[in-house]
């Protein structure tokens, strides 16, 4: 039995299904992200775990206790909000100590724990300040310390960094991950930023329209997206529509040019198929050799992005993006050049349109 289990959870408001058949098992100490576009039900799911929303059906189990209908103040679950939600009338120390005080702990124990927590977030010297005297990043660190002070069973964070500017976002997310590892606390992190999810998580749950599209490690989600949605939402991806020529040998046709993919294709009555290609696996200078796929196209645009050069190539109907590393040998193509692009068969990801489960 996993430490945190979300079993067959649904949430329905009136006619709208906001969360649909949500199943997830999280191990003790694991860091799981919910990733998905706005309105896909991430916050709703998180708030059901926190206890602010009661599921329409299904159950939530934390540490072998069914908490589905337990009020939030008895769940011992720490929560960090996008808006920080520090108590404006209390100092940093009082904010961090609030949960302990509510629990009726003796003043000396509170003081000690607060000092410990402030140490962890490197804000010892801010103990007597009020929230309005802190920067956004500092406020969110205090909010994190406040949530962790009560030694919660689970830590929930709902887009904790989205109100901060880019630089602080990156340093603070590293800090959150370090503290999470240090305390080995089971964590759910909601975000719509794929970079955040990829860089932080043990596993990512990609959601779309209330449903789980795919659950997997960052590596699996990025390299082996199972659905068209995951492929297009995570990373930059070329999605091409192909016609199946021969399903058994993996031969397909894109814009009148035949290529092949690895493995046997699904024997579908519908002969068309979605294929995904990462820009970084496509080459302009034929490094992959004869057995690779080759396609002829015309350069439409070249963008210099620093470490990589992104080229847009048009075939008949489709355009694809491809990235080349900015090495000293690189001769960037020019607009209007006729080029041959190549990519190995195993780099072609065959996408399904139906959401799948664990990979």
């Amino acid at each position: 039995m996993a430490f945190l289990e979300i079993n067959d959870v649904h949430k329905i408001y009136g006619q709208t299904v906001v969360v649909d058949t949500f199943n997830l098992q999280i191990e003790q100490g694991e860091f799981v992200s919910f990733l998905g576009p706005s309105g896909c039900g991430k916050t709703t799911t998180l708030r059901m775990v926190a206890g602010f929303i009661v599921p329409t059906s299904g159950s939530i189990v934390i540490n072998a206790v069914d908490v589905t209908r337990m009020p939030p103040n008895r769940r011992n679950v720490g929560m960090v909000f996008q808006s920080y939600a520090l108590f404006p009338n209390m100092t940093v120390a009082a904010n961090v100590g609030f949960g302990l005080k509510v629990a009726g702990q003796p003043a000396r124990a509170i003081k000690q724990r607060v000092a410990e927590m402030l140490e962890i977030i490197h804000m010892t010297e801010y103990a007597t300040r009020y929230p309005y005297q802190l920067s956004g990043g500092q406020q969110q660190r205090v909010a994190l310390a406040r949530a962790l002070a009560i030694q919660p069973q689970v830590l929930l964070l709902d887009e904790p960094l989205s109100a901060l500017d880019a630089k602080i976002r990156i340093s603070l997310r590293q800090e959150i991950r370090t503290i999470q590892r240090q305390l080995n606390i089971t964590t759910i992190y909601v975000t719509h930023d794929q970079e955040e999810a990829l860089s932080l998580s043990d596993r990512i749950v990609v959601m779309n329209q209330g449903r789980i599209e795919q659950i997997g490690t960052p590596f699996a989600i990025y390299n082996r997206p199972r659905t068209r949605f995951v492929a297009s939402f995570v990373g930059t991806l070329n999605v091409l529509t192909a016609e199946v020529v021969d399903a058994a040998t993996g031969r397909i046709m894109i814009d009148g040019q035949e290529i092949h993919v690895n493995g046997i294709l699904p024997d579908h009555p519908d002969p068309s198929l979605a294929i995904a290609l990462r820009p970084e696996v496509i080459s302009l200078n034929g490094v992959y050799g004869q057995t690779a796929n080759h396609m002829q196209g015309t350069v439409e645009d070249v963008t210099f992005l620093g470490p990589v050069v992104r080229t847009r190539v048009r075939f008949d109907q489709h355009t694809i993006h491809l990235d080349s590393f900015n090495t000293p040998q690189l001769v960037p193509p020019r607009n209007g050049d006729s080029v041959t692009v190549s990519f190995p068969p195993e780099a072609c990801l065959v996408l399904s349109d139906t959401p799948g489960a664990e990979v």
Binding site: A50, F81, S83, Y84, Y130, P131, Y132
Partner: protein, 271 residues
């Protein structure tokens, strides 16, 4: 010459704004000064504080003043205990009802005090409330609480708008707090300053209220002023100046209290 023209404009604007300020000041201060001068003339041919000492040494002044003072304090306490949780709940759970509640809280402006009193007396007639002095006092405080609702609700509503009620509530809940703890440790301290401004207006209203207190035969400050006006010449003016001073003193106290708390009253949020 554009700069000169704009300078001219400036003088123009200055002239008109000063004119209105002066007219306003005259309108405000002349009656006050006249009242003050008049109140000092209780003894023929000399200025003095005779009227003031007459007022201040009369037991009726102190009795009615302290009666109204404590009535105001009671009114404010009941009103706050009633309205803070209500407004909080509306913010948290019924935000769509806010326009309706706003309208309801304005009703005391529309219903004249006389109508209010007769409505109350009819409704509670032949109940212990109209039979005894204590009962009438309950009606008095009840009416004052009703009169205070527009001011108190609005003030508290403003206070609640300034904080993220929902997030603070949820943060407190996830830290283990129950409703009572949330109200007393999180919500009340954060609307306290806003509440003071509503409380101050309520205080001023209760101190000067005449109609309801008179009709319910209560020994309040309002009826006392009125009684004095019909029987004395100089004392009512002295009383007017005294209550004016007391009113400003109360404002000062409120300012001072809110100032000494201002370190905590600032609001934070995403930056």
């Amino acid at each position: 010459m554009a700069p000169a023209a704009s300078e001219n404009d400036m003088r123009h604007i200055n002239f008109w704004s000063w004119l209105w300020i002066i007219i306003g000041a005259i309108y405000f201060f002349v009656p006050l000064i006249a009242t003050l001068l008049f109140s000092l003339q209780a003894k023929r041919d000399e200025l003095g504080f005779t009227a003031y000492s007459n007022v201040l040494s009369s037991p009726a002044f102190f009795n009615s003043f302290s009666f109204s003072f404590w009535t105001a304090v009671t009114t404010i306490s009941i009103s706050a205990l009633l309205i803070v949780p209500t407004a909080y709940w509306v913010h948290l759970r019924l935000p769509r009802l806010r326009p309706v509640i706003d309208f309801i809280t304005l009703l005391p402006f529309v219903v004249p005090a006389v109508v209010l009193v007769f409505g109350l007396i009819r409704t509670y007639n032949r109940t212990p409330l109209t039979d005894s002095r204590q009962g009438l006092y309950v009606l008095l405080v009840g009416s004052y609480v009703m009169l205070s609702i527009p001011y108190m609700y609005r003030a508290i509503d403003t206070g609640l708008r300034a904080i993220d009620v929902r997030a603070l509530t949820e943060a407190a809940q996830s830290l283990g707090a129950d409703w009572f703890t949330i109200m007393t440790r999180v919500i009340f301290p954060n609307v306290y300053i806003a509440l003071l401004s509503g409380a101050f207006i309520t205080f001023a209203i209760v101190m000067g209220e005449f109609t309801i207190a008179f009709l319910l035969a209560q020994p309040a400050f309002g009826p006392y002023i009125s009684l004095l006006s019909s029987s004395k010449v100089y004392e009512p003016s002295a009383l007017a100046i005294i209550s004016f001073g007391l009113t400003w003193a109360s404002i000062g106290v409120v300012q001072w209290i809110s100032h000494s708390f201002s370190g905590q009253s600032q609001i934070t949020g995403p930056r």
